[in-house]
Structures are given as C-alpha cells and as structure tokens.
C-alpha cells in the first residue's frame, strides 16, 4: 500500500508515493540522506534523530507517512554554501566527534536547543542530550560542544556562573 505525501526536506518541497510500511529513517536514507544513521532501530540510541517541525525525534520509530505536511531537517541541511553551521563548527572545535556515528543526531538535537532561544543549565543540557548514546563514550567533549553552541555571538546564554 502506497500513500502520496508532501513535505519540506531541508528547505525543499518533496512530493512522493511512499510505502506505508516504511519508517522515516528508511525513506530518508533511500533518498540519499545517509547522515541519518540507523542504530538500534527501536528509539533508544538517538542516531537517527531528525528535526520534525523543529522538534528532535527518532526517525526509526516515526512512520514515513507521518512526514506529510511536516518540515523535516537532517544534518545535510545545516551547512550553507560550504560553511558549517555554528553547532557543527562547535562540535569540530571541541573534538566532539570520534567515530562520528552519533554525531548527526547530537548535532540535530543541539541545533533544536539553540533555536529554542532558551537558556539551559549544564544539567538541563545533559538531560536534553540523554536520548543519544555515544559508543565511543566521548560525552565530555559533546557536552562542551553543546555548551559552546548555546553561547553564540559572544552572548553567554548558559545559566552557569560565568
């Protein structure tokens, strides 16, 4: 059974017939967006995290048909004209990338935190990133990168003592 869906994917409108059995993860990877990683497949590791209407969700347990009418963003849509987004740049600068498998998901969740415009304490950042597993256990640098991302344009938005 197929269903026609229309959605925005990294700022471009896409319209296609999709198999109702597919997850959004499978659809995106079939379309070539392999920055969306398949990890556990059951919503535990966060490697497949994408933004759906600016909210981080696990695309492995999100049916592709649900994307109809939504704004979907993947890591491929972040860099503009070959320039990394501030969140991506922070991950590079802080050495928050080891094997890289968890990175796209973490970058997407961090992007959502930055775009929310809210200030987050260190504990709150940890909580917001807790749906991502890093098998290299590089959490300290990931946390540093997220904190750096949330401190953009010289304005310190984190609620720590600095």
């Amino acid at each position: 059974m197929f269903k026609r869906i229309t959605f925005t994917l990294n700022h471009q409108v896409v319209s296609l017939e999709v198999d109702i059995r597919k997850s959004l993860l499978e659809l995106l990877r079939d379309l070539g967006y392999t920055g969306v990683k398949k990890g556990c497949g059951v919503g535990e590791c966060g490697a497949c995290t994408v933004l759906v209407d600016n909210t981080p969700l696990d695309s492995c347990i999100y049916l592709a048909v649900w994307a109809d009418g939504k704004n979907i963003r993947t890591v491929e849509g972040l860099a503009a004209d070959g320039v990394l987004s501030p969140v991506q740049q922070a991950f590079v600068e802080e050495g928050a990338v080891q094997c890289g498998f968890c990175t796209p998901g973490l970058v997407m969740t961090t992007t959502a935190l930055v775009e929310s415009g809210r200030a987050y304490s260190r504990e709150e950042i940890k909580r917001e990133l807790s749906g991502h597993l890093c098998r290299c256990t590089g959490y300290q640098n990931i946390l540093k990168a997220a904190e750096k991302s949330l401190t953009h344009s010289g304005e310190h938005k984190c609620r720590c003592d600095k």
Partner: protein
Amino acid sequence: MYNIQSYYEAETLAEALELLVQKPSLKVIAGGTDLLVQLHHGRIPQVDLLSIRKLRELAGIQLLTAGEIVLGSLVTFSDLVNHQLIKQHIPVLAEAALAMGGPQIRHIATLGGNICNGATSADSAPALFALNAQLKLTSRSGERLVPIREFYLGPGKVDIRAGEILAAIVLNPEDYRGFSGEYIKFAMRQAMDIATLGVAVLCRFTAGQVLEDLRIALGVAGPTPLRCSAAEDFARGKVLSAENIAAICELTVEASRARTSWRASKEYREHLIKELTQRALTSARAKAVKQVSLDAGGGEIV
C-alpha cells in the same frame, strides 16, 4: 520495514470510531513509541493501523470551571513536563513525565498510549493512580468513565472494549487540590530506562501537620500498578512521625505483589518499596511545609 498491512488516517473522532466498527481488526496508533517497537520485535506479527494522530478532539490540556483538569489522550510527555497548568496544579505528574524515556521519546509518546499499553512500569501510572484519574472511553454508542484502578486488568491488558478509544484523562479537583506529591523512579540509568520500581505519594495535611489524606501508588510492584489502601487508611489522622512512617512503609510492602524478574529480585523490590516510600513521604512532607510557608507570606519554616 514494519509489517503494516493497511493504514488509515482518521480526520475526525467520529470517523475514527466509525472505522473501528467497520474494521474491527484495526489497531489504534498515536505516538507509536511502544507499538512500532513491538512490531519491530515481532511481538505483533502484522497489523492494520488506524492513526488517531490528527484528532484535535483528543489534544490539549484544559482546566474546566468546576476545577477538573482534562488531559486529551494525545497529550505528549513533553506537554505534561512543560504545560503551565500541570506545573502549577499537579507538579507530581510533570515530575513523572520527565522520568520517562528520553527527550525524543517524550516529544512524541502520548499519555493515552502509555496507559493503553497496560505496562506495570508505565511512568505515568503511579501518579495517575494516586490522583484517582478517571478515563473517558468513547465509542460510536457512547461514552463511559472508568477509574484508572479498574482499567488495568493484567500485564499488557486493559479494559478497553472493541470500538472504543481512550479520549481523555480526567482529574477531579478534590483529588489534586491541596496535595503535595512526589514520584520516585528507581532504574539503573537516569534516562532511557524502564523503572525497576516506581512510587508516587500524594499527601494533604491539616494545619497541625496531621495527615488528612494520603495516597500511595506503586509501579512494577505487581502485575499492574497498584494502590496501598491499608497503608493509606492507617495514615489518615496521624502525624508523619518516624514511627508512623515505618508502619506505613511496612503496610506498603504488604500491599505489593512484587516478583523476581531479570531487572531485580522480589526481595530487592520489597526493599526498594520500603525505602522509596519513606523517601517519597519525607519529600512530599517537605514540599507541603514549604507550600504552607509560602502561602503564609514566606514566614519561618517549621
């Protein structure tokens, strides 16, 4: 790919209820965080899905003029964590919601789904049991209200009849006003884990710190979440002295039906029940004292 045979997207509640009558094989899906995982693991071989995701009738949180708080079944755990009405009137439910899964799961998992899944480990269940939540079930032939304590029938089994959809969760003012509460989830990790044990406590004190009402509800202490009526009856009219707390905790263990599973042994669970109930009671009392002191204009804490 998931083994989905057919997929229907209802646009209105009436349409969804009609479809359920026409095609009794349909399985209702909302957030999908339990159902899709069960499909993935092959626990459900194949399925015809009816999505209720677009039904605005089942969305939102409302405070009615009579004081009831109505939670639409499609309310997500993130909604519960962030909604002003919940933070203000039922903070224990916001605490419980925050203990569930991780952010990506909380953003899409629904309260209705957590209840209908029928798990004794459901993080919403102890708080909702303590709050005497009423479940509004809707079908083409009408509506019925079921107390949540009667809705859970056994592991994964709930009292939802053919053609019915859980529309809302209703909390009455006499069940949340004036109460202070605490939910403690015990698990191996602080996120993305299933509760080894869950305890929710709600207390209401008179001015003299006498317990006017106490509710204790446990998760993973039996095949379904449960209330500890004997402990609650004992506590009414008493002060929370160390002696009374110990007696309450003993009665709480007696009410439980914990068993050994790969997560924990029966004995360890019983130890947790005693210890966590004591901690939850102490914390709920501290919150009540703080509230009284705030109400009195920030006077000295007694």
